[in-house]
């Protein structure tokens, strides 16, 4: 009884780290630009496909495809921001969130149907023998692919934090979060900060997409599921808080695996969504309370 439970919890944490990474880009974009990009799941899907093709056509090591999907998504994010989202920046905050929400939905429908057209509805995954092996510690199975999630998620979390704290651009981004008008008076080019934040958020979706293709599978209409996961994690962690996002991911991972263990794995996703609704209703500032990034 105890070992299976411990196994479940460990799995929850390892998957939760991936959930945190999935939400990291969304949280960054929302925190900086106040755009709620509900096409995040579709960006993740495209990142997954970029890695999948690099792996299966060029034979690149699955984890070395991460830079490829990051670059692809960085460029795509920049283009989408320039073409579409930059036009909503000047609106007042409430109608800005609403309009970007709508626009992003339109975008998600377009991306989904384009992906269906080019890559068909087949389910695909990146799989190699070594990814399926596991080590055993005290009777608990630790698959390499899942361990890698934790390492990669922590790596990107730390890099993002260092980038925001130490670099000039990172400081400009944080200044914009605090007060964009004052920041722009100090000579910070707000449009460029927004563009960068959006493109970085998209490239983080790309990383997450690669890991999803390795751990689960990818398919053109997977977007909504992952967008919802990212939204859940973001709300659990407090809107726009980056360390909170990671903890929110762990909470979601543990909730899901506990539900599979005690109830039924079919209800895994529902448990996450119910938790989300409860938090929205009773603690809209998030479980951790939203402090500034």
């Amino acid at each position: 009884m105890l070992t299976p439970l411990a196994q479940t919890l460990v799995f929850g944490i390892l998957v939760g780290a991936l959930y945190g990474l999935v939400a990291l880009g969304l949280s960054l974009v929302f925190g900086v630009t106040k755009l709620l990009n509900v096409a995040h799941g579709e960006l993740l899907m495209i990142g997954g496909f970029a890695s999948f093709w690099a792996f299966s056509l060029l034979g690149i090591n699955p984890y070395l495809t991460i830079p490829i999907s990051m670059v692809v998504l960085f460029l795509l994010g920049a283009v989408l921001y320039k073409l579409i989202f930059s036009r909503t920046v000047k609106l007042p905050e409430e109608s800005k969130i609403k309009n970007t929400l709508l626009v992003a939905f339109g975008l998600s429908i377009i991306l989904q149907n384009l992906a269906l057209k080019f890559w068909t509805a087949d389910e695909r995954a990146i799989s190699t023998p070594i990814l399926r092996t596991a080590i055993k510690v005290a009777g608990i199975r630790l698959p390499y692919a899942r361990l890698a999630n934790l390492l990669i998620a922590v790596f990107f979390l730390v890099v993002l934090q260092l980038f925001l704290r130490k670099t000039y651009i990172g400081k400009a981004i944080r200044a914009t979060v605090q007060n964009w008008e004052a920041a722009s008076l100090m000579g910070i080019n707000i449009q460029r900060v927004y563009l960068l934040a959006f493109a970085i958020g998209a490239s983080l979706a790309g990383v997450a997409g690669t890991l999803v293709a390795i751990n689960f599978s990818i398919q053109p209409n997977m977007g909504l599921t992952w967008t919802l996961k990212a939204l859940i994690v973001m709300v659990l962690g407090g809107l726009g808080s980056i360390p909170g996002t990671f903890i929110g991911g762990l909470v979601l991972g543990l909730t899901e695996s506990a539900t599979s263990f005690f109830i039924n794995s079919n209800y895994r996703e529902i448990a996450g969504l119910v938790l989300f609704l409860l938090v929205l209703i009773f603690r809209p500032q998030g479980l951790m309370g939203a402090k500034e990034t």
């Binding site: 969130i97 429908i109 609704l277 929205l280 209703i281």
Partner: protein, 319 residues
């Protein structure tokens, strides 16, 4: 103004009579099915519009209400209840669900209602597919007739549009629009934002639940979670936007346009119409928030005024 209103009334009655007589002229089932689809979308988009368009609350979980109506109606009706009782209970069930989510979510502003309803629809979608994984069949398939279904949809759509019209032209409707334009300003004038939002939500959910009930009556067999799918939210929402939110005619135009485009592009494999529709939707949200109705009005006033300022003066003098 009065003359214009009379014209609209006459045209609407003519349209209703034409639609009512349509089955006498057209006997092909596929055409009738197509008209049913247009009617369904008209009613669903119009019901979304009461809350999303007139009250300014973006509802991303309309499928939850449509699905609840269809689920309750289907289970009760197949279980032996007379259809109209089941139909009504389906609508009321959707209202009950709406109140359950609406009261807490509306206390929060802006985006919370949108993502809350999105999550709600997905919860129901997954739960229903877990509880009822098998396809639902209509046992009385031998006496299935298309015409009663057609007239049910026609009556429901006309009824929905009338209810929407009466509601938004009432005192409550003015309050709803005031809430949309600015909650604080509305509150300062003594309009309870929460009460108006809840009323709009209840009306919207009730009508969507009834459309769901009609859907359950119309289809011979389907998976019970199918009406909870996200497309039942996004398609009507896009129709309302493309036609013009916050107008009665907007969702009507939008749904004709949507089904028309779908039919035109059906020859190709894949969902081209959704790519085109999605693009159009983005363009409208960004550049033409009033939709096709606004485009029409702008063109009209442009034509009436003439292209230049000078011409405008001249016509004024002549008049």
């Amino acid at each position: 103004m009065n003359k214009k209103r009379l014209l609209v009334l006459v045209l609407s009655i003519a349209a209703i009579i034409t639609l009512a007589l349509l089955p006498l002229v057209i006997t092909s089932d596929s055409t009738i099915n197509l008209v049913i689809l247009v009617l369904l979308y008209m009613a669903l988009a119009s019901s979304w519009n009461i809350l999303g368009g007139y009250t300014g609350q973006t509802n991303l979980g309309h499928a939850a209400f449509f699905g609840t109506g269809s689920l309750i109606t289907r289970l009760l009706w197949i279980g032996g209840m007379p259809f109209f009782g089941a139909f009504l209970l389906g609508g009321l069930g959707a209202v009950a669900l709406a109140m359950l989510i609406g009261v807490p979510a509306f206390k929060l502003r802006g985006v919370y209602f949108a993502i809350g309803t999105l999550a709600l629809a997905q919860i129901l979608n997954l739960t229903v597919s877990n509880i009822f994984p098998e396809m639902s069949f209509n046992p009385n398939i031998t006496d299935y007739q298309l015409l009663p279904r057609y007239y049910l949809f026609l009556a429901l759509t006309v009824g929905t549009i009338c209810v929407a019209y009466l509601l938004v032209n009432s005192k409550w409707g003015l309050g709803m629009m005031a809430v949309r334009e600015g909650e604080d300003a509305a509150e300062s004038l003594g309009i309870s934002a929460l009460r108006h939002k809840l009323l709009a939500l209840a009306a919207s959910a009730f009508l969507a639940g009834l459309v769901g009930g009609a859907f359950a009556y119309y289809h011979v067999s389907y998976y019970l979670n199918m009406p909870f799918g996200p497309e039942w939210t996004f398609d009507p929402m896009m129709m309302a936007y493309i036609g013009g939110t916050g107008t009665i005619i907007g969702p009507i135009i939008g749904s004709i346009f949507f089904v028309g485009l779908k039919q035109l592009l059906v020859w190709n494999v894949g969902e081209y119409h959704l790519i085109i529709f999605g693009t159009l939707f983005i363009l409208i949200v960004l550049f033409l928030p009033g939709g096709l109705v606004e485009l029409w009005k702008k063109t009209q006033s442009y034509l009436r005024r003439g292209p230049g300022q000078r011409k405008k003066k001249a016509t004024v003098q002549v008049a």
